[in-house]
Every structure is written in structure tokens, then in C-alpha cells.
């Protein structure tokens, strides 16, 4: 069956360091992959979308890679700040139906 895995353990890093979050998937060939940020008690907020024919995407301090051979996406936040502390969700497309399959998210805590 289709499966998406994000590290359920919280990631704790020091301010200024680069945070790297991982999203692995199996039995799945998504056309594109998205990353969202979710703060406690709030709805997810879109960050980046990367298509299957793209290796890397950047937006300000954010970088996403997409390796369809490894079936993995990495999400990087450079020069992390305490304000980056949140849960980050990856989401994979299911065909062209508009349906997104979300991972359970990884909580990032950036300490000053």
C-alpha cells in the first residue's frame, strides 16, 4: 500500500544552523510534491511545490530536493530562526485528481 513517512521525532537545532527534514514514500509515483508549514491549532500554509522532473527548488532560505529514484524529498531551512519552529508536512499528489496525501509531519524546534 502507499505510504509516506516523515520522522515523527521532533528535530531540535540551534539558531543559525541548517535544518533538514526528510520525506520518504513507497509504492507511489507522485507527479509533484509539496511542503507545508503548520503552527499549533492552525491550518497548513503552503511553502514549496516541486515536480517530478525537477531535482531542486529554492525559495529564500528554503530548499527542497526530490529524488524519484530514492523516493525521497529533503526540505532544508538555512540560517534557521526560532520563528521557523513549527510542524512541517510533506504532501504528495495522487494522479491529477487534486488529491494530496499528507505525511504526519515533523516538528522543528529552533533554539536561540
Amino acid at each position: 500500500s502507499q505510504k509516506i513517512e516523515q520522522n515523527s521525532e521532533a528535530l531540535n537545532i540551534q539558531e543559525g544552523k541548517t535544518a533538514t527534514l526528510t520525506c520518504n514514500y513507497t509504492n507511489y509515483s507522485p507527479a509533484y510534491l509539496q511542503w507545508y508549514r503548520q503552527d499549533p491549532g492552525r491550518g497548513p500554509v503552503f511553502l514549496l511545490l516541486i515536480r517530478e522532473n525537477e531535482k531542486e527548488k529554492r525559495k529564500e532560505r528554503l530548499k527542497v530536493t526530490f529524488d524519484t529514484t530514492l523516493k525521497q524529498s529533503l526540505f532544508h531551512i538555512t540560517a534557521s530562526q526560532p520563528a521557523d519552529s513549527a510542524t512541517y508536512l510533506c504532501a504528495l499528489s495522487s494522479g491529477n485528481t487534486g488529491k494530496l496525501i499528507f505525511g504526519q509531519g515533523t516538528t522543528l524546534q529552533v533554539k536561540p
Binding site: G41, F46, S93, G98, Q104
Partner: protein
């Protein structure tokens, strides 16, 4: 500002008492989604509308129904809430079936 609005933000209902959650959008997007998210879990798609076309997920319980009277509004009806239906309900919109989804702040449902 264009946005997705959900009302109420918090809803308390009794076991078996019908409840309706509402979502409105000023983005003029043609696709609207309803997700259920339980604590520390991934958002799970319940159904979505592409314009007036309703698309139900195969594993969405019959207890959950939806209405979209016009482009701007969408409702989630839970006919007989059970304790297991306590969750955050998220409404989202998108322009077309591919691309980022814009989420509302969510409605936290408590079932007593």
C-alpha cells in the same frame, strides 16, 4: 485580503447530535476540500468539489456529507457525531487540481 474562512473556530456537540461546519472563500477558487486532522496525525482528505462536481473519498464514512451551494461556500455536515469524530476539520481551496492549496484556520470539533 483574499482568504479562506471557517466558522466556528471551536464547536462542541453531543454524541449523536448533528453538526454543520462552514467554510467560505474570497479567492474565487473552483476547487474546495474538506480534511480531517486528529492530533499529531496527517490531514486526511474527506471529499472535494471541483466546481459543482462532488468527489467522495472511498473511506469517508457515510456519516459525513457536504454541500456547496455556490463557489464561495462549502459546508460539512456530520449527521451523528461519534466520539471518534472529534478532530480538527480543515477546509482548503485551490485553483484547479494541480498546485498549492490554501487552508482555512480549521474548526476544532469536540464531541461530548
Amino acid at each position: 485580503d483574499a482568504m479562506v474562512i471557517q466558522n466556528p473556530r471551536y464547536q462542541v456537540t453531543q454524541f449523536g447530535k448533528p453538526v454543520t461546519l462552514s467554510c467560505s472563500q474570497t479567492l474565487n477558487h473552483n476547487v474546495m476540500y474538506w480534511y480531517q486532522q486528529k492530533s499529531s496525525q496527517a490531514p486526511k482528505l474527506l471529499f472535494h468539489y471541483y466546481d459543482k462536481d462532488f468527489n467522495n473519498e472511498a473511506d469517508t464514512p457515510d456519516n459525513f456529507q457536504s454541500r456547496r451551494p455556490n463557489t464561495s461556500f462549502c459546508f460539512l455536515d456530520i449527521r451523528s457525531p461519534g466520539l471518534g469524530d472529534a478532530a480538527m476539520y480543515l477546509c482548503a481551496t485551490s485553483r484547479g487540481l494541480v498546485g498549492e492549496q490554501f487552508f482555512g484556520p480549521g474548526t476544532r470539533l469536540t464531541v461530548l
